[in-house]
Subunit: 581 residues, 2 copies
């Protein structure tokens, strides 16, 4: 259970310099977004009038995100990786915006934010500003499929994105605050459903910076060996990168990333040449770094870096004596004149760290999944009609018939359609799907199991959060799917549904975002028939919850209810969120 060893110092002096310069540039741009409205290159001595009148944003997690982004760029270029970056701590928005601007993507999708001095000023001003951009990694942020405002779903989204994407590496940063949520705590087990031959890889990076908002985090305050046991118990091989000295941290992170990429390649090669055997122990990384790393050590006699005080804006009241000076020292500590030329453009030798085109994480094609969307090949639904020769003469089950339709959708679309359910495929009467596929499991399979196989296209875990999160990740990267659930328990994902609907709404207003496929629910086990289960299983309220959204975002379908056409406790009701398509 020990962390495998890695080479100590893989970076040359030049590589180290470039990496550190990128990191400083991203940190500089992040601080600029939070604080500055003018004087973006610090060409004049910093003064109060250069500072925004109202300071908003979250600094704490940002430098860690920038550190990871820079290092990932190095390995993406070295290994030509197709990499999607998912930001669990989505309030680190400044980091993702900064990196997208450094990579040029930001100016490509938002031409008014040019890659120069004026654009930099615009970049700074627009952040969390009236008429500007949100502080989170929302749909407006190029490269994002995950806003990270409501915490808990980053890792489920990451695995959903990786399913059926064998060439994709999904890097998922998980904050230690988010790691306390239930959905995230069970999302680690997604590795029992990731097929190393069919699917891509997910690299979770647990970022421990010690505090959520004001209080300490659980995973930062348990002994090292306990954390290692936990992550090993989740089925991963954890690699630790811990400290605060930049040079040592750069070398260590580079060494770990090299090792981790090699491990992922080995796992995939083995599965793809020898077949999917024993579930692999996928690597993951624990990054322990100070909250607000490289920010002010102290303000007004209070420690900032490494404490909960670094969570949002380290200095709120800039009219306090000395605060402008602290901000100037802080921003100058990144040595912007060594990073940007007089025109405000990133120096070429630093910009060379960026991958090209769609290899840039901010321009990864999978992050705008609608553009990759391929229409489902659907059978003619007339072929599934139930003959009703006269009133009251036919006994049939709506969802059993629907299961036959879904079976044929699965068969006709073997690479871009999945069914998700908390083990309700059978009880919702979709049994026919097992004529053409199985439940997916990469964990141990026993002979007495019913239709369980490593290649199954029915993803069943007893977590509505996980099913919803997987499906969202799958859809947002341009595929199709269906969530089969019980009516009462779909309330478990009320809040996820809302957040997804908000993402769709905002996306529909962004010209470069293409519409993704609808998120389809089958809701059965209705309130009216609960002989087995009773009151706990009765709740018709999800339709109320859904129907208050606009018709551009949701559709509800209720099946017709002819007399005597409902002989089983299972009936069909489908509510679907849909994009503008």
């Amino acid at each position: 259970m020990n962390t495998p060893s890695v080479s100590p110092s893989p970076l040359s002096a030049e590589q180290l310099q470039t990496l550190d310069a990128w990191w400083r540039a991203a940190n500089y741009l992040s601080v600029g977004q939070i604080y500055l409205i003018d004087n973006p290159l610090l060409e004049q001595p910093l003064a109060l009038e250069h500072v925004k009148p109202r300071l908003l944003g979250h600094w704490g997690t940002t430098p860690g995100l920038n550190f990871l982004y820079a290092h990932l760029n190095r390995v993406i270029k070295a290994h030509d990786l197709d990499t999607l970056f998912i930001t669990g701590p989505g309030h680190g928005g400044p980091a993702l915006v900064a990196n997208a601007w450094l990579e040029g993507t930001y100016s490509e999708v938002y031409p008014k934010v040019t890659h120069d001095r004026a654009g930099m000023q615009c970049l700074f001003k627009q952040f969390s500003f009236p008429g500007g951009i949100s502080s989170h990694v929302g749909a407006e942020t190029p490269g994002s499929i995950h806003e990270g405002g409501e915490l808990g779903y980053s890792l489920s989204h990451a695995f959903g994105a990786a399913f059926d994407n064998p060439g994709l590496l999904v890097v998922c940063v998980i904050g230690d605050g988010e790691a306390e949520t239930g959905p995230l705590a069970t999302a680690w087990h997604s590795n029992k459903f990731l097929n190393p031959a069919r699917d891509g890889a997910v690299l979770p990076i647990l970022h421990l910076n010690g505090y959520k908002i004001a209080g300490p985090t659980v995973l930062a305050r348990i002994p090292h060996e306990e954390l290692e046991a936990l992550l090993t118990g989740y089925g991963y091989a954890p690699y630790f990168v811990e400290g605060d000295a930049p040079i040592a941290m750069h070398q260590r992170m580079a060494a770990v990333l090299d090792e981790v990429i090699q491990q992922i390649r080995l796992i995939q090669q083995r599965a793809r040449s020898e077949g999917v055997g024993v579930r692999p122990r996928w690597p993951m990384i624990v990054l322990r770094s100070p909250k607000g790393w490289t920010g002010p050590k102290e303000v007004d006699g209070q420690r900032i870096e490494g404490t909960f005080r670094a969570h949002q804006v380290p200095m709120g009241n800039m009219s306090q004596p000395g605060h402008v000076r602290i901000l100037e020292d802080w921003t100058q500590s990144y040595r912007p004149r060594e990073l940007f030329d007089d025109a405000g453009r990133l120096l070429a030798q630093i910009a060379a760290l960026s991958p090209a085109g769609n290899r840039r994480m901010s321009a990864n094609a999978h992050a705008n999944g609608g553009a990759l969307l391929v229409d489902l090949k659907l059978p003619d639904y007339h072929d599934y009609s139930v003959e009703v020769p006269g009133p009251g003469t036919t006994v049939a089950e709506a969802t059993r018939v629907q299961g036959e339709f879904i079976r044929d959708v699965i068969a006709g679309n073997p690479h871009n359609f999945l069914v998700f359910s908390p083990d309700e495929t059978n009880s919702n009467r979709w049994n026919a799907v097992f004529e053409v596929t199985d439940r997916c499991s990469i964990a141990e399979i026993l002979p007495e199991d019913d239709h369980v196989a490593t290649g199954g296209r029915v993803m069943e875990m007893l977590s509505e959060h996980q099913c919803q999160g997987w499906l969202e990740g799958y859809l947002l990267t341009g595929r199709h799917g269906f969530f089969s659930c019980y009516e009462a328990f779909i309330h478990i994902v009320d809040s996820m549904f809302n957040q997804h609907a908000k993402w769709l709404k905002v996306s529909s207003e962004i010209p470069w975002r293409r519409p993704v496929a609808s998120l389809n629910y089958l809701l059965s086990s209705h309130v009216w028939r609960q002989d087995h289960n009773g009151f706990s299983h009765q709740d018709p309220g999800f339709i109320d919850h859904v129907v208050n959204k606009k018709a551009e975002v949701i559709r509800i379908y209720l099946r017709p209810m002819p007399t005597r056409c409902c002989q089983s406790p299972t009936t069909a009701c489908a509510a679907a969120t849909t994009s503008m398509s």
Copy 2:
């Protein structure tokens, strides 16, 4: 990280016989509830007309629950333990009803279900029958505070019940299906918030029986060392009881329970004599037993025991040739004539396993928390009024003032009032509470932490599920509390809110259940002001979700909004569920 060793065979032949007899009696009564409508003592050869016309219920988990109940009775008597039993797999309702009947509690609270032949027949007939009882461990079930219909909250409820109850042992059975849910996956971390001096103990028992409904479970299909690492990583010392041979399993479970009780006592004695030091490694148990243990091995050529087919009713269609015979063999395998006398009463030597009075888990006083409820000592709210000498002259923050009130409630009620929050106490402006208490943590505490202490009465974990689950457990065992949250993210517990409201509704109709205290929410960070956060943090829908319940169950309070009396992004809105009181 190895499981500590335990003595191999602690039970005498007589103890073993009594334990096994109790287990058989409970299993017999469970099968009877699922299948029989007549001939409860099998005095006549079993015939189809003795079988219910419609078979409902869940057998799979039931024998494991009965096994645990019998063994707990032994240690409760041996050590005079005050023990609350929480049934995560709540659809094992027949088990809890059976044990309550064996202990006499059932007949005490429902006099028509007498402890004799006629009562047994009534017990059998009423289960999942029109006009009868629910199949889950609902509010009707004596000894229950947890229905277990919607899965995921058993362990949070258990810890909530243990807070501020130093004399209580809460045993919490967690099914391996439930263990896949997000809320349960993070609930394990509750041990970082349980103070061994101030609080009671929680003994989690993870019951691995291999399948959820039709599919295999995650935790049953990972290697032993991985499961052990996971549970160790969660901070527990796991003890394993694995197998299917009854005698060996009895000895092993008895040995493990003896050891576990001793470990719990040692942890508590140390903390209570020497003070709360390093967080203890609380013991827990993994019970791995076949699904549908002791049920039919095979029906119609298909394996039942140990497979997913044992989940509900092993034989659905009793008119099939031979099925009545299988049922007769099955029920007779428990040798009912050695368990019950001719009048249908449990034989005295077996009944002697039961503890007396409120030591019976089915009669535990904490499971009817309303009967233990002590009114809060509340300060006069007039003392907190904000002076408004004239319109538009006062600047104040509603929740900051409320925080002063809550501060004084905490101070005045040091043993039966707690505040729960996903780290939003400060941002919701209840800062004043930290004048009299701290955030609670039994994990590592650093000097730079802000008001964190082992004795803190503010329970902050970044999981709305955990906060809600803890608070429900705390309230249902007769105490008071407040949940401070953001408006948008309270949707995360929509479904938990519904289930709690249903529990309150049903409880209000049960004469022996006494009303518990209201579940109070403070919802702040409203939709209207989200400068820091944006769209992801905007959602005013929880009030809609709440307000569709009847006024007997919910109340909503909106604070008055005088002009200029809201200068901060934080405003106050409290929605409260309340019992009939």
